[in-house]
Symmetry: C2
């Protein structure tokens, strides 16, 4: 590089730097949560971020310790009327039976093949587990990942007629980004399958696979006919990432207590307890599905105390009140639900 | 901020930027691996980094996928004559017996209390496992972390009379830093206890707890008398992070195949196989302990095919040759072993 071109490069860099400084200060003034109405929930998030990222604030948290965990189903995306992963497993049954025709006359596969949703919904849990085991395990990990990816590209939700990955909540996307912009590492901590969610978490939430903690099974290392090693998904459960399994999973996979946690059901209770029991500034929030028009309404606000998905019980509502956890009303706190709204 | 102070701030920023540019270009020219002698090993590392980080290179790897995994004992720090974690467990026995006096006359604790190293070395594996279970499980996670931290602050290696965390290999520290400076996420993937290594990995290697994968047990979520939740370390093994357990653990905890992996024994064989079986540029390296003077000599170079620690068998040596894995000779490739050399 000649001296002249070196000077030119420095000048360019300086010009870019000035633009960057101006851009950053403009951005600092913009509302980081534009899809949120002003209210206690939005204020709690902004106050928490300011308290934990302002040097000298009593709640200041060093960047390395800024961990925020998010339940997925019902917290980051739609879970009603059925978890997307369960839809995936049911959708996989025809291909499974094609590969193993002997299953066609065996329950629960026989019922699933009829497509009779009412009958499928009545399958007892052990039968449902047979479907999960058959569609989520027994194959090389690369094959599973490819199958999920293919399904995500074509499957659509029945109500919005859109891919499931478009049914993420825009206000929560803004929280994820706001926290990351402030030095937080964001994690999905889901009762859903860790391998399943890892396939799309980067695209859907900007969260890399290594920051997805979920219900996880073991894999088995082996060699193919070509001598190449590969991992096979085993039906052995290592972590049931629900209820007490959430803080246990967080300890196993992250090894730090989160400073912020977001959930929407009793399955998230222990994660919120564990998070808020730490020292200093902590944020614990619960999404309440009370918007029958724009999404769904279920949970204590509707007197629906025992729904099939995302049970937000009255007991959880009471614990939240007692412990100062913030309940997010989808109806009142969110200006819009989806990016396409 | 007044206009004048705004201009001053911009001027300051510009000056800092220029210094930064000059500093960065000076750094780019400096040798990133000053403790390495020129040779095949050093060249392999530099070539790999250049191939995977140069836009347009056939081996280019997007930053999100830049994962490098490192075995710990014998690869990042001294493992001879005994793993530090085993020393920790033995050192904990007196405190354990003080808390539970009934153990004083029960084997294997009785033998450990004698301090007779020869007798301790002869304890059969199931007896040793009793000591590990008693000193590594049964307590709240915070208590365990505090105990390890306290021990690390005072325990010293017998040969160098230094804290164990100073016995990390300087050339490997440079590799860690070099990879991180080039956008790699560095992970410890150890047969040692995940919780144990997480206590000091940040200080010793600049690796945060969430990037330590190791042999891991379960925890149990519960509540104290004050109603506060806490996690207790359970004697239930979730992941034996040795041999095939290494790629299995990598898949569980990271969910991506590494592009570079470093080990030193048969316990790392499958990790290196799994890493090097991936597409594109891959780096697989093995540290050979052949420096009896500056550290220790064991393994195939010495005809010691069955040592108690870090077994680098002849079969592994042969597989490395066949598959193009690079063997690092501590004697020939490293200018110095420790930072204090």
């Amino acid at each position: 590089m000649s001296r002249g071109s070196g000077r030119l490069a420095v000048a360019r860099f300086v010009a870019l730097s000035v633009l960057l400084v101006l851009g950053l200060s403009a951005r600092a003034q913009a509302d980081p949560l534009p899809s949120w109405n002003d209210g206690a929930a939005k204020k709690a998030i902004v106050d928490f971020v300011q308290a934990t990222t302002t040097q000298g604030s009593p709640g200041f948290v060093p960047q390395a310790e800024r961990i925020a965990t998010f339940d997925q189903d019902g917290t980051l995306w739609v879970e009603h009327p059925m978890y997307s992963q369960v839809v995936y497993c049911l959708d996989r049954v025809p291909a499974l039976v094609k590969a193993k025709p002997e299953l066609a006359n065996v329950e629960p596969f026989k019922t699933v093949l009829t497509g009779n949703l009412e009958a499928i919904a009545k399958l007892p849990l052990p039968e449902l587990e047979k479907i999960l085991a058959a569609t989520l395990t027994g194959m090389p990990v690369e094959q599973f990942n490819a199958e999920v990816k293919e399904w995500l590209g074509k499957a659509k939700d029945h109500r919005w007629k859109r891919p499931y990955t478009e049914l993420t909540y825009q206000p929560m996307q803004e929280v994820l980004k706001y926290l990351r912009d402030n030095g937080y590492k964001t994690y999905v901590v889901t009762g859903g399958g860790q391998d399943f969610v890892r396939v799309y978490a980067e695209q859907a939430y900007g969260i890399p696979p290594e920051q997805v903690v979920g219900t996880a099974g073991g894999t088995k290392y082996g060699y193919g006919k070509d001598g190449k090693p590969f991992l096979t998904k085993e039906p052995k459960l290592l972590l049931n990432d629900n209820n007490a399994g959430k803080p246990e999973g967080i300890y196993l996979m992250i090894g730090r207590r989160p400073h912020a946690a977001f959930g929407n059901s009793t399955g998230d209770r222990q994660m919120l307890e564990y998070t808020s029991a730490g020292d200093g500034a902590r944020l614990a929030m619960l999404v309440l599905h009370d918007d029958a028009k724009r999404e769904y309404a279920y949970g204590p606000a509707q007197g629906l105390r025992d729904t099939k998905v995302g049970t937000f019980t009255q007991a959880l509502f009471d614990e939240a009140k007692k412990k100062g956890w913030i309940v997010i009303s989808m109806k009142d706190d969110w200006k819009r639900i989806f990016a396409f709204d």
